[in-house]
Amino acid sequence: MRASSTIRPARLAACASLVYGFRLATASALAQCAMCSGAADASAGQFAFSKSTLMMLSVPYLLLGGVALYVVRAFRRSREKSGGAAGDTDSTGR
């Protein structure tokens, strides 16, 4: 029987505190990077910074997605293989 899919309040609170902590960490990082922020705001480098940031931001997500896809496929293949072997064993009666 499947478990209920409702989110428990304790888990919700833990997720919210995690997000809030991450937000605080980001804010302090931004405060320490005033020079970078100023350089990025300059009109000449704005386009360059945004394009480069976009490229550098997309790669980890692509990597994560690719590795996750590979892992899921590998586990699925392994399960099919072991399921097939179990089926063979059952059919021989051993």
């Binding site: 000449a44 480098g45 386009f47 360059a48 910074f49 394009k51 480069s52 940031t53 490229m55 550098m56 790669v59 980890p60 990597l63 590795v67 590979y70 892992v71 590998a74 586990f75 293949r77 392994s78 399960r79 072991s82």
Partner: protein, 202 residues
């Protein structure tokens, strides 16, 4: 005194299934992910400086030779093919196939390093150096140099594999070194594809 206790024959344990992802492959994937982030950082720095520059290449600096980059891409692709052939041959227990594939990869790597060396010498004589070329020269040498170091590493690795293949150390049950070197070589080829497009084509 003789003990009257009889020793039981060892009982077969539960059948162990092989892991879905072998450890060597998982380790290599993690390593290649880290390497990808290294090249991403370098390319990100290159893009910032290039897109912010009013003119690229800067005035008085030589254009990068397209033919050299394309030839190197072809060499790396041939090396990838060689490693693929070697891996398939190792799985089929074909000793000559392994030797042929690894030799092709080794020759391709040598050709790549030779062409890159010639290109560096030509560009240096044309006035592009780490100090005189500004960010243009520094970025070019940093990106291609970092890539060349990776290729040199996999070249040494494959040279060791060739020695192992001569001694017939690979079999269908044991060919993990060839597989891992192949993964690294394919990564180096893919990294050069991106470098080629960004440095030489765009």
């Amino acid at each position: 005194m003789v003990s009257g206790v009889m020793q039981r024959p060892p009982q077969p344990g539960p059948r162990q299934t092989p892991p879905a992802i072998p450890n060597h492959r998982l380790g290599m994937i993690i390593f290649l992910v880290a390497e990808t982030m290294l090249f991403t950082g370098l390319l990100g720095g290159y893009l910032v400086l290039r897109l912010a520059a009013p003119m690229w290449p800067p005035a008085g600096q030589p254009q990068l030779p397209f033919w050299a980059g394309a030839a190197n891409l072809a060499f790396l692709a041939a090396g990838s093919l060689g490693i693929h052939v070697a891996l398939r041959a190792a799985r089929r227990a074909s000793h000559h196939g392994v030797l042929r594939g690894i030799s092709l990869a080794l020759a391709s790597g040598t050709a790549f390093l030779a062409v890159l060396g010639i290109e560096w010498a030509r560009l240096r004589s044309a006035g592009l150096s780490l100090s005189s070329g500004g960010t243009y020269g520094a970025l070019f040498y940093a990106l291609t140099g970092c890539h060349a170091l990776h290729l040199l590493a996999v070249w040494i690795w494959i040279a060791v594999l060739l020695l192992m293949a001569v001694r017939d150390r690979f079999s269908p049950a044991h060919h993990e070194p060839v597989e891992m070197a192949g993964m690294f070589w394919h990564f180096v080829t893919l990294a050069w594809l991106f470098l080629f497009v960004i440095l030489y084509v765009l």
